[in-house]
């Protein structure tokens, strides 16, 4: 027992305390878990809960566009399909949430596979254009079948996730942590168990070379569309049940661009970038709404932030901060805190270039 405790403490000290990025992540996680002890103000809980849902959504876009380079400008398609499926199943068939959300995600996977078909032949601008089109086509269809889908008003009065706000919060928090963990593991290029991460990176960097190396790129591209669709679908299902309404606005252009905005602000092709982006920008926008003037200027603010980020910090704010806190050893590739002078694993000097400049 004591041995285990010592071992755990050593693990904690060596692999978390020494790396500032991980320390921040752990502190942030505990903050989220303990938040209901600090405040149970409904508006705060609501903002954080929605931010958690949108984190899953943004990270799923990142898996598709950031890690595997398939630019998807219509990510709202997956979110919207899942939300509408969930809503229809819940409203018309009265199914409980633990059936509707998985079924909604399965639908989103199916749609992901269908939307992935063009990705096998197109890339870059062309893929962006096609994917941009899909949610807009679907929203046209939804208006035509207004009797079934509720048209402009959407489907409302869905059942709650649970009976209390705090339970809602924990359900969605758990879902977010699990989804982020799975996505992080799947896209980890250094993983020894799963090859998919490094293959996706290879496809992003140079598809023809990847194919020449014997990788079935078509299979992996479809797979990443399905994975991304699944997690966007999870987010869509939770969103429908949490808001208790599904409207056509979630298929709109703006909803497709939100995950792009968050992820690029936070940092592309890093899972923590998506988390940072959502948890910084979404509360900011919501807090703006408390004030009279903020209501009107929030989207102006958002677009300005996006433009300025793209021009001045194209790598994203999370990556920018990470580079200020951590440094990678050039010899053994182990991450070190910026304050160290020698690598903690191989004792090689860390700040060679800077010293050279002096």
């Amino acid at each position: 027992m004591v041995m285990h405790a010592v071992w755990l403490y050593k693990l904690f000290r060596e692999s978390i305390l020494t790396i500032p990025g991980r320390l921040i992540a752990i502190i942030f996680l505990w903050f989220l878990v303990l938040l209901p002890l600090i405040t149970i103000e409904p508006s705060v809980l609501r903002i954080i809960t929605l931010a958690s849902i949108f984190t899953i959504y943004a990270a799923s876009w990142d898996v598709l566009a950031g890690f595997s380079g398939q630019i998807n400008l219509g990510h709202a398609l997956f979110f919207g399909v899942a939300a509408y499926t969930t809503a229809v199943l819940n409203k018309y068939l009265g199914l409980p949430i633990w059936i509707t959300i998985p079924l909604g995600s399965v639908c989103a996977v199916t749609v992901g596979l269908i939307a992935g078909m063009p990705a096998l032949r197109l890339r870059g601008f062309y893929l962006g254009l096609v994917t941009l089109a899909f949610p807009l086509i679907l929203s046209g269809v939804i208006f035509v079948f207004a009797d079934f889908t509720g048209g402009e008003q959407g489907i409302y009065g869905l059942s709650r996730l649970s009976n209390s706000r705090i339970l809602d919060y924990y359900i969605i928090l758990t879902a977010m942590i699990c989804s982020l963990f799975i996505m992080y593991k799947l896209t980890d290029a250094g993983s020894r168990m799963l090859r998919i991460g490094v293959i996706l990176h290879a496809i992003r960097e140079d598809e023809i070379t990847a194919r020449a190396s014997g990788i079935d790129t078509a299979k992996y591209k479809l797979m990443v569309f399905a994975i991304s669709g699944f997690f966007a679908g999870v987010a869509g299902g939770f969103y429908a049940h949490y808001m208790r309404i599904t409207g056509p606005s979630i298929l709109g252009l703006f909803f497709s661009f939100q995950p792009i905005l968050w992820t690029i602000f936070g940092g592309l092709s890093t899972v923590y970038g998506a988390v940072t982006g959502v948890f910084v920008l979404y509360p900011l926008v919501e807090v703006c709404c408390f004030y009279e003037i903020g209501e009107h200027i929030r989207f102006i603010l958002l677009s300005l932030i996006l433009i300025l980020t793209l021009i001045f910090m194209p790598e994203g704010i999370a990556v920018w901060i990470r580079d200020k806190l951590e440094v990678k050893c050039q010899r053994c590739k182990v991450v070190n805190a910026i304050t160290r002078n020698f690598c903690r694993a191989c004792r090689a000097p860390l700040h060679l270039e800077k010293r050279g400049k002096k």
């Binding site: 089109a133 661009f257 989207f299």
Partner: protein
Amino acid sequence: MFLSILINGLVSGGMYAVLAVGFSLVFGVAKILNLAHTAFYMVTAFLILTGTIIGLKLSISVIMAVIVTGLLGIVCYKLCFDRVKVHETAVMIISVAIAMLFQEIFLLIFSEQFRMIKAFIPGFVEIAGVRVLYHHFFAVGASLVTLILVWLVLSKTRLGKAMRAINQDSEIANLMGIDVGRISLLVLGISAILAGVAAVAIVPIVMVHPLMWTDPLVIVLSSVVLGGLGSIKGSIIAAFILGFAETWVIFVVPSGSFLKGAISLTVMVIVLLLRPEGLFGVVFEEERL
């Protein structure tokens, strides 16, 4: 019925053609997929509206609006596109951000109301039982004249020659002494002016609204793809095809006005899947797999 479809199809097809030409010019020369292109069209419409509210003469406010839009295009290129040009994704996303910025600014100033601008040439004539506004003739005439002007500039002037050279191979064009950056800047300005002209042609017929840029954007994208990305001739013909298709859907299919975007987008997806080079496009070998 047939005549209404013909007239309305010509009007909207002409407008889409002018917009699509500007869009393809920017894509061909500056290699920018400018999703904010129709936002410039919205900006012009609002500037005309502002002019008439302030009390300027209609003709003066129209000319001012078009010129200001052109300058705005140049400013956008200098401030935004030029700095992120290396990443094609960043360019695409920044253009959307610009469009949203314009939309929100006009939402802030003018709120969500639908507004009308009174016709430049009031009155109508009745042809075979169909009312045709004089403005319809003006719109068709304006778009045709603009298209012919663009064709003349492209084929007869040194500027046009430079643009075509950059379109074919920008690196070689640069080696031949063409200032690619400057021409790209000019092209952004020209395309913004073209968007402005399209707005002038159509504005008294459609409502002015901060969200008016999304519908034409969808159709311009599809027509540019249908005609072949970067091909001017193709995008003009495709714009007319889609303009007529849209009008036909609105007139014939019940609740068709919801479907008008969906039809063009479906056309676009099908074209991209079956024939990615479009009707007249150049085959981009490296773009396909």
